[in-house]
């Protein structure tokens, strides 16, 4: 055991921790597919999937067996390289973005000085999944879905970045751990940055292409949009990627606006993970409740809302925050 020096042991432990976080995020994303169907069912006065296992909890296993044994079929008219690449991007982009999330004081994958910007970069790259899937499918409905996605992206990406700049101005750092520490010492950002929270939450829903921003895959008009030609595990990767996006954005909302692993009023500092998980779970439920309760706007309405309401709001928020930060110095 001579190779097991203290540094080596640290590296191995860090790698194991990162693997555990990655697996936890993927498993959460996969389990959400059952949680969402079950909750939607209960809210709509029906049962949802309740046959496999206690309360249908093993539905995920049944789904996986089904998807793995389905024929992995590429239609003859698709562009095979890009058709295969798109689901990989869909699943990995926001999963990689999770590395900047500090889960507890001791758990977290990477402590980047440019943590927040790293999330923006990965959110920007996640768009290519939809674009490439829509184009390579060589299908009218898929292409319309991809066009909607890119039009939407151009309208939400601007205020996605600007909505968080108020936080950066107050903390003076892009580092996620600095942001959490600042909130523990002062006040959670939900209070001073309420406008930033509102706009970032809207942009976050749009990043994951979830209801009410799911125009790229609107079932009623364009029959599932960009992933219409996908089957089997490739389709499953789009599906799991969407849920990973929900987990990611919920964790980010908790980290940026709700004090990360800290409890309210400094309660119970011994269980940081419990607070983090509780708050993240709350936002995941909020995502599902949004889908259950809101109608879907037209995509030109979404774009007009983004440019005419959210962008001015974030600019006002940034200006006021900047003035206050300067006045306090």
């Amino acid at each position: 055991m001579s190779w097991l020096s203290p540094e080596m042991a640290d590296i191995v432990i860090q790698i194991l921790k990162s693997l555990v976080i990655m697996l936890a995020v993927v498993v959460c994303g996969a389990l959400l597919s059952w949680v969402e169907r079950r909750l939607l069912g209960l809210w709509q006065d029906r049962y949802g999937p309740n046959r496999v296992g206690p309360f249908g909890a093993f539905q995920l296993g049944a789904d996986m067996v089904k998807m793995f044994f389905k024929e992995d079929w590429n239609p003859p008219f698709v562009d095979k390289l890009i058709f295969t690449l798109a689901p990989v991007v869909a699943m990995s982009a926001l999963l990689i973005a999770f590395v900047v999330i500090p889960v507890t004081p001791t758990w977290g994958v990477a402590d980047l000085n440019i943590g927040l910007l790293f999330f923006f970069a990965m959110a920007g790259l996640a768009v290519y999944a939809v674009l490439f899937a829509g184009w390579s499918s060589n299908n009218k409905f898929a292409l319309i879905g991809a066009l909607r996605a890119s039009a939407q992206t151009l309208s939400y990406e601007v205020f996605l970045g600007l909505s968080l700049m108020g936080i950066v101005a107050q903390v003076g750092s892009f580092n996620m751990r600095d942001i959490v520490d600042y909130q523990a010492q002062n006040v959670w950002f939900i209070i001073p940055q309420i406008l930033g929270f509102a706009t970032f939450f809207i942009a976050g829903v749009a990043v994951t292409h979830r209801h009410p921003f799911d125009q790229p895959e609107a079932e009623q008009e364009i029959a599932d949009g960009y992933h219409i030609e996908y089957a089997g595990m490739k389709w499953g990767m789009f599906f799991v990627g969407e849920y990973i996006g929900i987990v990611m954005v919920s964790a980010l909302l908790v980290t940026l606006f709700f004090g990360g692993w800290h409890g309210p009023f400094g309660l119970l500092p011994e269980v940081p993970f419990l607070w983090f998980a509780l708050k993240t779970g709350f936002f995941i439920m909020l995502f599902i409740l949004l889908r259950a309760s809101l109608p879907r706007p037209r995509y030109d309405q979404v774009m007009a809302f983004g440019w005419k309401v959210c962008l001015p709001l974030t600019l006002i928020n940034l200006l006021v925050t900047g003035a206050l930060v300067l006045a306090a110095q």
Binding site: D79, L81, I82, L85, L112, N113, I114, L117, F118, F120, A121, A123, G124, L125, V127, Y128, L131, F132, G134, W135, S136, L143, A146, L147, S150, A151, T153, L154, E157, G161, G172, F174
Partner: protein, 168 residues
């Protein structure tokens, strides 16, 4: 760090070569995205994480989305690929390539004849230092760039206004 720099620089050069030589426009754009990511990696390895991440956000995340959007709208099919193949005949690219080779040799000569001893030290420049420089000594360049962007914005608004559509 030097290994990381040369590795990503090599990938950038290879990917850019494929951008030029590929006949399918969307595949060429895919290589272009990879080239931009590799350039961002170069910035990271040189110790400029802020510049690197902005390269990804602005170029790979925003500008390339527009490129892909337009190419998708044009729906370039097999006729474009045939035309590209026509353009990529040796007789057409040989002249420009030979002239560029002369420039490359000149560049290499200048690089190797001047005794610059700058090495990659691995120290990183944070966002604050970039901001202090941009709004300090380079303030005039920032203001000029913002005026240029404002002019472009006004022009785009003029072209896209609702009355312009009604007149035509």
């Amino acid at each position: 760090m030097e290994f990381a720099f040369y590795f990503s620089a090599g990938i950038a050069v290879l990917a850019t070569l494929r951008v030029v030589t590929h006949t399918n426009p969307v595949h060429a754009l895919l290589y272009f995205i990879i080239s931009l990511l590799a350039v961002a990696m170069c910035f990271f390895s040189l110790g400029a994480p802020f510049a690197g991440i902005l390269e990804i956000i602005v170029y790979a995340g925003a500008i390339m989305v527009l490129f892909v959007f337009v190419v998708m709208m044009l729906n370039l099919g097999s006729s474009t690929m045939a035309q590209e193949r026509q353009w990529l005949k040796p007789g057409i690219w040989f002249g420009p390539a030979a002239l560029s080779l002369v420039l490359l040799i000149e560049l290499l000569y200048v690089l190797f004849s001047s005794d610059v001893t700058a090495t990659i030290t691995g120290e990183s420049v944070d966002a604050k230092a970039v901001g202090v420089h941009l709004f300090g000594p380079y303030l005039l360049a920032v203001e000029l760039a913002s005026m240029l962007l404002l002019a472009a914005l006004v022009a785009a608004f003029h072209l896209g206004r609702p009355e312009a559509k009604e007149l035509s």
